[in-house]
């Protein structure tokens, strides 16, 4: 009974959040469109109303990174901008890009900067992008995604260090309690279902910190991405830069821990005719790179797709321009939200499991293969 009550409460809360979220989002969206999006349209309110709602732009705007963190209505949290240009580093607040009427303006630093389609560019006197100069601009700003990433790092450090501290305090004599009892099954899951089956009992321990860190980082960012308001709302794990960084880390770890057998199987497949070996080598070599690339694209696509799906459902209300559309849109959005919760966990699991599998492939000892190889040689000699 109790669990059913909790479930219905959860559904209620989620739908309320979704509605509140969508309300804010589109209020803001309209404001953006009105005030900044189309300066020409600002003078013609009628024309502006007609093209005010662009679904693709709205959705992409919520999936993309941003230089300020939208809180509610017209309120946004300005974030620090860090730029590196041939003239050196520059630090300033992203609030400098907006005037008191929330209009996008130029900021005059070492160069003239302006946010064009969400990215900081160097502009000339006419506010047109100076492509040549912009090539020398390196943007290390604390964007919404970076800030959200820091939030997730803070959450992870707090929760996990607390959980680890509990072992020090109570030792191993008592059953796990509190945060510890929540974290331990996940850690055990990663160890028993991900690391040991894929890497093997002998070598898994070395890779446990790496796999656990990846799993928890992806998991927390997936979950934070599903929270529609302030500490969440950023689409970190659905950002290609985030998944690329993790995929590169996996690539580095896999190739650094690869043994002789692994490379032999890539460049000179044992037990094959030499022509086959020549044929297989480039394919296997491409495989070395496609593995992490598949990791990168899988996580990015899954999380982004989920966000797009939820946003599209909410957009139905604005497409049909009637509040009654929410009767269908909101339950569907809640349903997809539920699936997204599952996907959030599933993608963290799949990313970690595939990483573990690649590490397992790279560190596997091919004893039986070696024998086969010798057998073939012997046959060839006879």
């Amino acid at each position: 009974m109790a669990s059913r009550t909790i479930k219905s409460l959860l559904v209620l809360c989620l739908s309320l959040f979704t509605m509140a979220f969508s309300g804010n989002v589109f209020a803001n969206e309209k404001a953006v469109q009105t005030e900044q999006g189309n300066p020409a349209a600002a003078h013609e309110p009628a024309a502006h109303e007609a093209e005010a709602f662009n679904v693709t732009e709205t959705i992409l705007d919520h999936i993309k990174d941003d230089h300020s963190w939208h809180l509610w209505g017209h309120t946004s949290l300005p974030l620090p901008v860090i730029l590196y240009t041939p003239k050196g580093f520059e630090f300033f607040s992203s609030a400098k890009f907006l005037n008191e009427h929330h209009e996008e303006i130029m900021y005059k630093g070492n160069y003239d900067y302006k946010i064009i389609e969400g990215k900081i560019k160097i502009v000339d006197a006419t506010e047109a992008v100076d492509l040549e100069a912009s090539k020398g601009l390196w943007d290390f700003s604390i964007t919404k995604n970076v800030a959200s990433l820091f939030v997730s790092v803070f959450i992870l450090l707090t929760v996990l260090l607390t959980a680890a501290g509990a072992y020090k305090k109570t030792g191993i004599t008592t059953a796990p309690k509190g945060v510890q009892s929540f974290m331990e099954p996940i850690v055990l899951f990663v160890r028993d279902e991900v690391a040991i089956p894929n890497i093997g009992k002998k070598k898994f321990a070395k890779y446990m910190p790496f796999l656990l860190t990846i799993f928890f980082l992806v998991l927390v960012n997936n979950f934070l991405g599903l929270v529609p308001f302030f500490p969440g709302g950023a689409n970190v794990s659905g950002n290609i830069a985030f998944t690329m960084t993790l995929a590169v880390c996996v690539f580095v770890v896999v190739n650094l821990s690869a043994n002789k057998n692994y490379w032999e199987h890539i460049f000179w497949m044992p037990g094959m005719h030499w022509s086959m070996k020549l044929f297989l080598a480039p394919i296997e070599l491409i495989g070395v790179f496609t593995k992490p690339i598949s990791l990168m694209i899988r996580l990015f696509a899954n999380i982004t797709a989920g966000h797009i799906l939820v946003l599209s459902l909410i957009c139905l209300i604005f497409i049909f321009k009637t509040v009654y559309a929410s009767a269908i849109a909101v339950p569907f959005a809640v349903f997809i939200g539920m699936i997204e919760l599952l996907v959030a966990f599933l993608q963290a699991y799949i990313f970690t499991m595939l990483s573990a599998m690649y590490i397992g492939m790279a560190t596997e000892e091919h004893h039986h293969e070696a024998h086969d190889h010798e057998g073939h040689k012997n046959v060839a000699h006879h």
Partner: protein, 170 residues
């Protein structure tokens, strides 16, 4: 390249890559040292502890079973011993009783035979004495009679004659 430029979604920002690398490395190092290591160590310790405890429990069980067996055998042995002891004691007692009986009988026999001997001796002695006394008495009586009878001469002579006739000369 055209596609990449068209869709900003698949264009990684250097800033996020940079901060993400730092965040990941920080997490990896800090969590690796202060969270995963103690956690995994504690979990492994607990697991080995549980395993050990289970093994110990099994061992204890076996030990208890062995002890029970031992106890039973000891008890059986003790019972056997007790039975043996009782039997022995009974035998000893029986033996003692029979020995005592035998001894008593022997003594009895000895006493009886001694008594009989003594009685016989006494009887013999008494008989001897009686015989002696009777002899003396007879002699005395005979003397007295003889004295009386031989007081006259005629009688003396007839008697001597009588004896003399009795004596056979050969």
């Amino acid at each position: 390249m055209f596609l990449l430029e068209v869709n900003p979604l698949v264009l990684p920002d250097i800033g996020l890559v940079f901060w993400n690398t730092i965040a990941f490395l920080v997490l990896l190092i800090v969590l690796g040292k202060f969270a995963w290591k103690p956690m995994l160590k504690a979990i492994a310790e607990r697991e080995s502890g549980i395993e050990e405890a289970l093994l110990r429990a099994d061992k204890m069980k076996a030990e208890i079973a062995a002890m029970q067996n031992e106890n039973e055998t000891l008890l059986a042995k003790a019972r056997e011993e007790r039975a043996g002891m009782i039997k022995d004691a009974k035998e000893t007692a029986d033996k003692m009783v029979s020995e005592a009986k035998d001894k008593a009988k022997q003594e009895y026999d000895r006493i009886i035979s001694d008594a009989q001997l003594a009685i016989t001796q006494q009887k013999n002695a008494a008989l001897t004495e009686v015989k002696n006394q009777v002899g003396t008495l007879v002699v005395e009586v005979a003397e007295k009679i003889l004295r009386k009878e031989l007081s006259n001469k005629a009688e003396q002579e007839s008697y001597i004659k009588q004896i003399a006739e009795g004596v056979k000369l050969n």
